[in-house]
């Protein structure tokens, strides 16, 4: 079987960061799945592309954990879409994720650039 090369031109999100990005995106207000994908892509200046195979499972996982809630609403174009909204638990989780991410990114930065360390 020929080897299949996937996602060659994309930067894959780090394990666990998608949840944080979704929560962060929803902090600006409710949004549907497609809009969340676009927002992440635009926010990262087209560097990060969310794989749809991961986006919807992540949205439903976060909903099941109670960090986001969903409801069907009409879009501006009068189409019914499933909008997601951050819950209070989701806000707490976002804070937690953010502090964890900051700790981790600074730790990685220290390793990658040892001379620049404070």
């Amino acid at each position: 079987m020929a080897p299949r090369i996937r996602y060659q031109n994309r930067i894959e999100l780090l394990q666990g960061t998608l949840d944080m990005l979704i929560l962060r995106t929803l902090k600006w207000g409710r949004q549907h799945g497609h809009g969340i994908g676009l927002a992440i892509r635009a926010g990262s200046e087209d560097v990060l592309t969310v794989d749809h195979g991961s986006l919807y499972p992540a949205l439903h996982r976060l909903e099941r954990r109670g960090w986001i809630s969903a409801e069907w609403k009409l879009t501006e174009n009068k189409q019914r879409a499933r909008y997601y909204r951050l819950t209070a638990a989701g806000r707490r989780q976002l804070d937690h994720e953010r502090s964890r991410w900051e700790r981790m990114s600074s730790a990685i930065a220290r390793i990658m650039n040892p001379t620049e360390a404070p």
Binding site: H32, G33, H52, G53, P57, H60, R80
Partner: protein
């Protein structure tokens, strides 16, 4: 209604996800169109960007509550849709497997209790059968496969063993067989199997109703030694007495012996006897005395069994008994002459109960396994051809992002779904046909049949179905796993596909090899049974009854029943009494049960003439009662029969043995020399036999009162012809006889019933092999038809080109036939050799059957090839009738 709410929520979650995914793609399309992309490009790009919708759905489902279950149900839904797209193949595959596993369910349910699971007694591994044997020269063959030479034990040996409390916890007997007794006037008789009083205690069983047999005090009105204690089977108690506890009050006298019902056996009770020839019985009966203490010196215990003490192994018990017998009977050996070896064999009860029928049952088990094998290969062939037909579908799924493990799982799931559906169908078939099946099984095996709902049957069915699904689905699943998008979606080449069908041809060969074994089995057993059915014994069996008159005289009184004037007058009275009974149209007496047991051995008269034959003493009316024609001369007159006249009648074979080539009429009036003097042959009677399975032998009939007959023993056999549909009234006969000669007991059996068991085993084998062979042929035909049809479907393009280039329809048919018939021929020849080998082993178990007849093998081979050619020819003919342009259009 909570479950209903959950169901709604489940459904809503699914539909929400669908709508959400649809919105996502639509929104992407809208934005792209707004950016100026053409709609069709926008839609295609949006779909490509989203990727595999099915995978996204699956991954999302897994995050829900019971996500894995939902994914599985979704996979099952896919399997269902896939099967529904090919209804004909699905039905063929399900029926194929149902036929294969159905036979196995039936046989497993019938024989599981006997062959595969512990006997239903507590600590059954401690129960053993005890047998004695005496042999002249020690030989390894004396106890072949653990079959003892005699299922008895001298009572003094048994007493010695029973007293050895260190190794044996208890010793009892269960003879097998059943005796008839009638509890009340006008009631149906009860058939009771004799056991010793402590049998239940040794088996470790408690009665379902009533007390134990061995701690009962005798009734006040009868003496302990003569009272018969009866314990009914649970089935008889339920069916005949509606489960009433009043059965415990039942008591009656039959043949001067008092009977009393003291309990009901536990449900599913099995008689612990190696004599599986035991016919139907309604209960057990025990003399209310200790058989070991009351046994006379020289007597034997029939079919003894014992329970070993905990921790005593069979080997230890055997060594201990050997030592005990050697020390206790060194100076006083039992049986045989001095110098003979004597031994008591200890045999596990489980082995002992099945040792006689074991090989026979394994033959049956082997046959149904062979059918399952055929079914498995046939199913595999169908799945393989089916899988190949769907390779394009698999390629598209792969292209859309389905992973190879997913295709593998889907192929296995399809196989499992087919097998489980087939198993369910087969199980329902067993539930529906169980009663008919039990009628075909020999009576001795019927008590072992379990209910369809038996957990072992259900679990075994599911296990076998899953196993076969894995085996049959393995090759198709692996092919699906190895499928490559580019290879699969490449345009169909026109080259020969022989290489692709290599695996299928192997399966067809294996299937044919299994098939020929069963076809030969059927060709061997079915004609033998048909011969048995159509072969007349030489007389009309219907309405003929055998009446056994036991006079219960003391041994001194009965010494000379037929050779004294009193004995003769008694026979005369018995015949006269019976002839006067309403419904009786003919009566005759004989000294041997020639009509039920056959004649074993050979008489002195015939041995002197170098042939095997028999002497039978009869009263004058025998031939007339049986309805046998006289070829020449006459039968005895009653005056001659009862006055020991020096006359004789020969059967046709007998006359030909003595005077070969002479006309029967010419032999009448000639004289023959017998042990009793010279006798004049007064008639030649047509040949007849005790039952259809017994070969015709020379027969000399002499008057029943002839002195050479000797003692008539303690009973007289009377053959009674009754009016159509009537049965002689046993009680009336007994009453009338007792009015003249007291203490008579009478037992009546139907000659047809006696002949029937002789037909049961061949009938069972014939029905079994016949139906299995028919099933096999159907399976082989279905598999080959599917293969040929598929191959033709794949070769349409090639064939149409050949036809267009001038090939004839016959050429095409020949190519298809060669493709299908070649593996069948290879498999059939290989299976034929296996059958020959199996036949030489099984031949010893099947009397009156030649298991290695070359004609049978030739017929089997031709039949298999005929089925293969027919199965392949149907689709081939259809193809060859089409025009090349039509075929190409179909492509």
């Amino acid at each position: 209604m909570r479950w209903f709410g959950r169901l709604i929520a489940w459904y809503r979650q699914e539909s929400d996800l669908d709508r959400e995914v649809r919105f996502h793609i639509d929104e992407e399309v809208r934005l792209r169109i707004e950016r100026g992309e053409p709609p069709d490009v926008a839609r295609r790009t949006a779909r490509q960007l989203f990727g595999n919708v099915g995978l996204v759905r699956d991954a999302t489902r897994r995050t829900w509550r019971f996500g894995s279950l939902r994914t599985a149900s979704s996979a099952l839904g896919h399997v269902y849709r896939s099967l529904r797209r090919h209804p004909a193949l699905t039905v063929a595959a399900i029926l194929t497997f149902a036929l294969g596993i159905g036979a196995n369910i039936a046989v497993f349910a019938m024989f599981d209790r006997l062959l595969f699971r512990p006997l239903p007694y507590p600590d059954s591994d401690r129960l053993v059968l005890l047998h004695s044997y005496v042999r002249r020269v020690p030989s390894a063959n004396a106890v072949r496969n653990g079959v003892p030479s005699a299922a008895f034990l001298p009572s003094r040996v048994a007493r010695t063993l029973a007293e050895d409390r260190e190794f044996i916890a208890g010793l009892a007997t269960a003879e097998g067989g059943a005796t008839e007794t009638i509890p009340a006037h006008g009631e149906e008789p009860l058939y009771l199997s004799p056991v010793s009083r402590n049998a239940l205690m040794v088996l470790g069983l408690r009665p379902a109703l009533g007390g134990s047999l061995d701690d009962l005090t005798p009734s006040a009105t009868v003496s302990a030694g003569t009272e018969r204690l009866v314990m009914l089977t649970h089935e008889t108690w339920q069916q005949r007495y509606r489960g009433s506890p009043d059965v415990l009050d039942m008591a009656w006298v039959s043949g001067a012996a008092p009977y009393r019902v003291v309990g009901v056996l536990p449900r599913g009770f099995l008689l612990p006897t190696a004599r599986l020839a035991t016919d139907h019985y309604d209960g057990i009966v025990a003399l209310n005395s200790d058989a070991l203490r009351t046994a006379q010196r020289g007597a034997h215990l029939v079919a003894p069994f014992a329970r070993l003490r905990p921790g005593v192994s069979i080997e230890v018990a055997q060594a201990r008994i050997d030592a005990l017998v050697a020390s206790a009977f060194q100076d006083e050996p039992w049986g045989g002459a001095r110098g003979h070896e004597r031994k008591v064999i200890v045999q596990p009860l489980q082995n002992g109960m099945s040792v006689v029928v074991g090989p026979y049952l394994w033959l049956v088990v082997g046959a149904v396994w062979a059918v399952l094998g055929v079914s498995c290969f046939s199913l595999s062939t169908l799945l393989l051809t089916w899988g190949q037909a769907r390779q394009r579908d698999a390629g598209i799924r792969l292209a859309l992002g389905a992973s190879p493990p997913r295709l593998l799982a889907a192929a296995f799931l399809e196989s499992c779904a087919i097998c489980l559906a087939g198993a369910s169908l087969a199980w329902l078939g067993y539930v529906w046909g169980r009663a008919a099946l039990i009628e075909v099984v020999p009576p001795a095996l019927r008590p072992f049949a379990v209910e369809p709902g038996d957990p072992r049957v259900v679990v075994a069915t599911i296990a076998v179905a899953t196993l076969v699904a894995c085996i049959a689905g393995a090759v198709p699943a692996l092919r699906a796993y190895r499928a490559d998008v580019l290879t699969v979606l490449r345009p169909t080449p026109t080259a020969s596909r022989l290489t692709r069908l290599r695996g299928t041809a192997g399966l067809v060969s294996l299937q044919s090899a299994f098939g020929i074994v069963l076809v030969v089995g059927a060709a061997t057993t079915v004609p033998a049974f048909v011969r048995l059915l159509v072969q007349s014994p030489g007389f009309e069996v219907a309405d003929l009854h055998l009446v056994n008159v036991r006079h219960n005289w003391s041994s001194s009184e009965s010494a000379e029943l037929l050779s004294t004037p009193e004995g003769i007058s008694r026979v005369r009275a018995v015949l006269a009494t019976m002839a006067a009974v309403p419904g009786v149209t003919g009566v005759a007496a004989t000294t041997a049960s020639t009509l039920t047991t056959g004649n074993a051995g050979s008489s002195e008269f015939w041995r002197e003439r170098g042939v095997r034959g028999h002497d039978t003493a009869i009263s004058g009316e025998l031939f007339q009662t049986l309805g046998v024609a006289m070829w020449a001369g006459r039968a005895f007159e009653d005056s001659e029969a009862l006055a020991a006249a020096p006359v004789a009648v020969l059967n046709e074979t007998g006359a030909q043995s003595i005077w070969p080539g002479r006309d029967p009429a010419e032999t009448v009036g000639l004289t023959i020399s017998t042990a009793d003097g010279v006798r004049t042959v007064v008639g030649i009677v047509a040949d007849f036999r005790s039952h259809p399975a017994v070969p015709i032998a020379p027969e000399l009939f002499i008057p029943i009162s002839a002195t050479e007959v000797g003692s008539g023993g303690t009973s007289l056999e009377v053959i009674v012809r009754a009016s159509p549909g009537q049965r002689p009234d046993r009680r009336l006969i007994e009453e009338r006889l007792n009015a003249t000669f007291p203490k008579n007991t009478v037992q009546i059996s139907s000659v047809a019933d006696a002949v029937l068991p002789e037909r049961i085993q061949p009938r069972f084998l014939a029905v079994l092999f016949g139906s299995l062979a028919a099933v096999t042929l159907v399976l082989v035909a279905a598999g080959l038809y599917g293969l040929a049809d598929y191959e033709i479907g794949q070769r349409r393009r090639e064939m149409s080109i050949r036809l267009a280039l001038g090939a004839t329809a016959r050429d095409l048919r020949r190519r298809i036939l060669a493709l299908v018939v070649a593996p069948v021929l290879v498999g059939t020849l290989a299976g034929g050799f296996v059958s020959w080998w199996a036949g030489s082993i099984a031949g010893t178990m099947l009397p009156h059957v030649d298991a290695n007849d070359p004609r049978t093998y030739a017929a089997g081979l031709l039949l298999m090839l005929g089925v293969a050619v027919s199965a392949a020819l149907l689709p081939a003919r259809r193809l060859s009738r089409m025009r090349p342009s039509d075929i190409l259009r179909l492509n």
